[in-house]
């Protein structure tokens, strides 16, 4: 039983990362009906950006005391800002002019954008895994044999805080309401005086910033990254978004945590472990979609953004 609960703890940590990435997929899909294939790579960029910030301020190992909070905050916020700006630029340069083109055009552009980002990262940091400094000291608490590390607390805590903030933003602010309105009916939103270019840019800003936060967290959690990291993580996060109901923000959060849990538990209990976890994850997706084609929280018309 301890082993099971240990995997639940591990799964929630993985899930926090998937959930943060899944939000960007689902928000962008909700507002422009595009599967933004480049999103997973923006997440990897988040890891590299925070790595660059940490190197720039000379952090290469554990940090203690109040300085830790400052350094984590700095790394998270700068990764969020830089990824957010990257997302806005991608939308502005690549997707905006294709907004009224046939669906396939932006989709292929998104795949191309993904290749471009991957190649840029490969040029920047090389083709091999790059170590990420272990800034978080590693005390851990044991609850009846289930070990919870400080890193895991950080991952889950950060994910939960960001998601709560996102919910408040979307449901309680004027701009959040403008985003939901634009997702539901773009023309009607314009007739309310909403500038949809700004609103769509804002969606990319927020989605990409969340991927940036996930990037930092994943660096800390795994202690390494490489230019191609976003491919698999992105695929799983996208799966999470579809599982929860693509376009549905709460669904992306739920889907992210579920995928993390399934992966952790499968890794533990299936002989051969890790190699099979992807198979299990995608099987879960297929099963759910057979019974609920619009995802767990999706309505027949998904509640977008």
């Amino acid at each position: 039983m301890e082993i099971f609960f240990q995997q639940v703890v591990n799964g929630l940590s993985l899930g926090g990362i998937y959930a943060l990435i899944a939000l960007g997929y689902t928000m962008v899909y909700g507002i422009i009906e595009l599967i933004n294939f480049a999103h997973g790579d923006v997440y990897t960029l988040g890891t590299f950006f925070s790595l660059a910030i940490l190197s720039a301020i000379g952090v290469s190992g554990e940090v203690h005391g109040p300085a830790l909070i400052g350094i984590v905050a700095l790394a998270v916020l700068s990764a969020m800002l830089l990824c957010g700006v990257t997302g806005v630029l991608i939308e502005r340069l690549a997707y905006r002019r294709l907004r009224n083109a046939p669906r396939l055009a932006p989709l292929i552009t998104a795949i191309g954008m993904s290749f471009i980002l991957e190649n840029v990262m490969q040029l920047w940091r090389g083709p091999s895994p790059v170590p990420f400094p272990q800034v978080i000291p590693n005390p851990s608490a044991s609850f009846g044999g289930v070990v919870v590390s400080a890193k895991q607390v950080l991952v889950v805590g950060l994910a939960v805080v960001m998601m709560a903030a996102l919910q408040v933003f979307i449901y309680n602010t004027k701009l959040g309401k403008a985003m939901r309105a634009t997702a539901q009916d773009r023309d009607a939103a314009q007739l309310m005086g909403i500038n949809i270019n700004t609103t769509i840019a804002l969606t990319f800003l927020i989605g990409s910033a969340l991927a940036g936060a996930a990037g930092f967290v994943s660096g800390v959690y795994y202690g390494t990254t490489w230019f191609f990291n976003g491919f698999e993580a992105g695929l799983k996060a996208f799966t999470a978004a579809v599982l929860g109901g693509i376009g549905n923000v709460a669904g992306a959060m739920l889907g992210g945590f579920l995928i993390g849990l399934v992966e952790a538990v499968a890794t533990q209990y299936i002989p051969g472990g890790a190699q099979w976890s992807n198979v299990v994850v995608f099987s879960v997706l297929v099963l759910v979609l057979i019974f609920r084609p619009s995802g767990l929280l999706g309505e027949s018309l998904p509640e977008k953004v």
């Binding site: 007739l191 309310m192 005086g193």
Partner: protein
């Protein structure tokens, strides 16, 4: 100078020409109606004025300034409210949220609150359903919401696209009463209708659109009396 001037506007959807050389004007304080059969180009005309579709040529001026260079949200800020065809309420948002979005361009919370009261006085039904999702409203209530939402921007010109479509005769009556009331309170109205009789009964002037061209333009009284218009739009020969 008219409040709204549309001059020689052409609009096409791809290779399909929807409007040819449309010209019309709406004076401050008027109710002007644009009538015509399905597919004549009425909705396209309103969409062009709102900036949702770009004309190939022609000019659209509001209060003397050129609208063609503006985005739809800027057109709203200039003072044009548009209740679109098919109502287009935000189905998964509450009635209150829909009305608040109508006031998106406005900053003064106290004015918005008093306008909300005003809209709820015009449409008491909406007041009873403020926390309900707009998608759960009846067709008539959605139409009230669409009009109320457009009023929340405090428009100088209110454009209504077939507000009576699909409503019961009683509700149609209510909607036309409301339009008169909105007009009496000083808002200029451009009313698109297939319900030509009723529209001409409350309008001062009217335009008749046929396959993308304006074929008649006159005072509402003359249009109501005209044989050609009666034959085509008022259900029966003179």
């Amino acid at each position: 100078m008219a409040l709204l001037e549309v001059e020689g506007v052409d609009v096409a959807y791809g290779r399909i020409r929807a409007l040819s050389r449309i010209s019309l004007r709406v004076e401050q304080g008027e109710i002007v109606t644009l009538i015509g059969a399905n597919g004549a180009g009425k909705t396209t005309t309103l969409r062009a004025i709102s900036g949702l579709i770009r004309p190939l040529r022609g000019a659209i001026r509001f209060d003397g300034s050129d609208l063609l260079r503006l985005t739809p949200d800027q057109v709203v800020r200039r003072g044009i409210g548009h209740s679109p065809e098919g109502r287009r309420v935000f189905a998964r948002m509450t009635v209150r949220e829909n009305l608040e979005l109508g006031a998106f361009t406005r900053d003064r919370a106290s004015e918005v609150a008093s306008d909300l009261k005003g809209v709820l006085t015009i449409f008491p039904r909406l007041g009873e359903r403020l926390v309900q999702k707009a998608g759960t409203l009846s067709g008539g209530e959605q139409q009230m919401l669409a009009i109320g939402r457009a009023l929340m921007s405090r428009p100088r010109l209110l454009m209504l696209d077939e507000p009576s479509l699909g409503l019961s005769p009683l509700l149609v009556q209510t909607i036309f009463e409301v339009i008169k009331r909105i007009s009496a309170s000083g808002t200029t109205v451009l009313l698109v209708e297939q319900n030509a009789h009723q529209a001409l009964a409350i309008a001062q002037r009217g335009y008749v659109l046929e396959v993308g061209k304006i074929v008649h333009e006159d005072s509402a009284a003359n249009l109501l009396a005209s044989d050609a218009v009666r034959a085509a739009y008022l259900g029966g020969a003179a």
